[in-house]
Symmetry: C2
Subunit: 429 residues, 2 copies
């Protein structure tokens, strides 16, 4: 542990860390670990879609012309294909266009302007609207709240999901209308919500009668191990607990098929589905049904989807292992960082020495290595402890991931040694 | 003219009209003239797109991977392809997904929740927000206003666009924040805005500093004659008049390529484009760029687009001629109806005898012929004179259009004769 080093050993560590950093910077690399984007090799897995559905193949099973207007809820066969993944029957699924973020955004916008089933008035007419934000979390969730003035209340994650004692206490405030959740392989912590967490979320008494769980199951099939995790079906849990309308479930094929040309999904209770469709019908005549047909032709069925996801795992798992190895090699036993070993998803979350996350990002940047900005995983981009980093190893090549991870470890160690050194100088002064 | 008929002649007309109607109903037809949907033959024109862009063709000219996330404004080559159509340089264009209605909806939503450039506060915080609605107009425009409580003020159309004296008077009210416009081949009136109309719209003094023309150029290339009409470039006109941010221009390829799988466009001033992108960036990581590439590969350039539109005209013009012939054959000289002879677009607007539009729709329905509901072309679906009908001849086959049009003429004449007969009875009583 750096904190236990003698003054001489700390000086020598600092000198070594600086030398390592200078050597890394001298390589003049250009590396980017900022965003959870699929690599070209992952997109290649779906290359066959680029010529689908193919000429004369434009009719749905029900005989609808997928080229024309209409079909607001989505083709029946598309909803059927994803029903098991979403944990909802096809009639409780709405297929959107290429962005589940857009469905989440629109759901919040409709809630602000119109309210949801059970609302006494539009959320936007309330004096105060707040969302619980398990943290560290997904920056784009937080950005939607910030955009529309929704107050964000951070809640710590435990590894099994949010601290439920805190959550149960906070939802006694009627201003708390919603809560963000990435219940499986959370971005970036890798949390997998336990059955008990989900049951408590479903069961808890909320002061707002129209409270909603925004359940972004973005990584539902995105396993990194052979035995992928299953979580409790939140829609069933809510229904059993007498709160059938509590959860809005979201998912997409952005990280299954094509990141920019996938399908997004909303799954919920009949009342919530009717509500979404009523609002969406004012916005559009219908989604791109040819892209829905393209997905059905390519993936065929649930087994096809699972088989396709195994190919992603084969490409991604070595990159996650490479990050872990590089961090382990340089940081094990130093106390300079703790990091997750996620069983799925797209991120590794690193907690560095308090107060050094920004310094790590700056050191990395100066050495040609782009990391997600420090604080990005916190509401409004402000990490009160300046401690959390989000690593996104999916996009760079494996060799770049290895190089970048070594660089990250070097930056973390240098920042930690600097901080310890500064702390002792302060104490001595 | 029915109004001039002797009592005996009116009785005999009524008897003949009833007999014609009974004969029409006896045919047991199933016809639908409700929506402006392209026919399957029109969609077939773009069938080649169903296998595009094709394997390994996923890079933009700039080398972006169109399969991946990003590219919020749209591919440069897609914006370039539609620049002439939109009357804006590529940097002033945003490409959306498959629905220009969605772009209009979202623009209004962002205005309500955030305001537009020049707004003192979000429109939703104003005590009253109103839109001018040239009438008869597009029901889906009006439905968006109704959904969000925007007051709608009907303005009559003249054939050259809205009554500008009225418009200039109405915009002196600061509550008037916007105005719907379908400036070419308007839905359903066929109005083509004159240069003078557009100049006055660009020039007029509005009490609201953040007033916006919602300029839905839905039929910009949708000519029904050999010499298609050109209208003044509204963005240029607004800039010249010192109101560079006044117009939001919308268009789509829904009625060019594939109705459910086209591209939508927003074109405006740099400030408005930056505003839309800032809001859209909270909603999505980017549009479906593969579909943008698909359009570029298929249409190639502006000339390719124009050539494609000529094929639509060849399919559509005979249907419009068939409606006109059928109405002319039975209604000429009766005074029972006036109807448009549009030079483009998707609709024929029919003004029947005041108070009989609902009756015509009901008679048609009882005979197996679905028409757009009476009143649909008015805000909140309420036509104060119960007079306007919107005919949509694009979707049915030419023979169905002929049959339907004859039926419509029969229903119009019967309703007119009934009304005249009832009027005389009332007068005699």
């Amino acid at each position: 542990m750096i904190a236990d080093l003698s003054a001489a050993d700390l000086d020598s560590l600092l000198a070594r860390a600086r030398a390592d950093y200078d050597a890394f910077r001298a390589k003049g690399l250009k590396l980017d670990m900022t965003r959870g984007k699929p690599a070209p090799e992952q997109l290649d897995l779906a290359e066959g879609m680029l010529a689908l559905p193919g000429n004369r193949d434009h009719l749905s099973e029900a005989g609808e012309d997928a080229r024309n207007y209409g079909g607001l809820q989505g083709l029946a066969e598309t909803r059927a294909l994803f029903a098991r993944t979403l944990g909802a029957s096809p009639d409780r699924i709405v297929v959107g266009d290429n962005s589940s973020l857009a469905l989440m955004h629109d759901s919040l916008v409709y809630a602000l302007l119109k309210g949801v089933p059970g609302s006494a008035k539009p959320w936007g007419r309330e004096p105060d609207v707040a969302f619980l934000c398990p943290t560290p979390g997904y920056d784009r969730h937080f950005a939607i709240c910030e955009e529309y003035g929704v107050r964000m209340i951070p809640v710590p994650l435990t590894g099994d999901g949010p601290d439920m004692d805190k959550v149960e206490e906070l939802v006694r405030d009627p201003a708390v209308k919603g809560m963000w959740n990435v219940p499986k392989y959370a971005n970036p912590s890798g949390d997998v919500y336990s059955d008990e967490t989900i049951r408590r979320l479903a069961r808890m008494t909320t002061a707002a009668p129209d409270f909603r769980l925004f359940w972004d199951n973005a990584y539902v099939l995105h396993h990194l191990t052979d035995d992928g995790r299953e979580i409790l079906n939140v829609l069933d849990a809510c229904a059993e607990a007498g709160h059938p309308d509590r959860a809005f479930v979201f998912a997409s094929t952005s990280k299954m098929t094509l990141a920019g040309a996938g399908l997004a999904f909303f799954a919920s209770s009949p009342a919530n589905v009717a509500w979404l469709l009523a609002s969406a019908s004012k916005r559009t005549i219908g989604p791109d049904k040819l892209n829905q047909l393209r997905h059905v032709r390519f993936l065929k069925d649930h087994d096809g989807l699972v088989a396709h996801m195994a190919k992603h795992k084969a490409l991604l798992a070595p990159k996650f292992a490479a990050v872990d190895e590089a961090l382990e090699a340089r940081l094990a036993g130093t106390g300079a960082a703790r990091w997750t070993k996620p069983e799925g998803g797209y991120f590794i979350s690193v907690d560095v020495v308090e107060g050094t996350a920004s310094r790590v990002v700056q050191l990395a940047k100066d050495a040609g290595l782009l990391l997600t900005g420090a604080g990005a995983t916190w509401p409004k981009g402000k990490d009160p402890r300046d401690q959390n980093l989000r690593l996104a190893p999916s996009f760079p090549s494996l060799s770049d991931v290895k190089a970048a991870s070594e660089g990250i470890a070097i930056c973390i160690l240098l920042a930690a040694a600097e901080a310890e050194s500064a702390k002792r100088k302060d104490a001595a002064a």
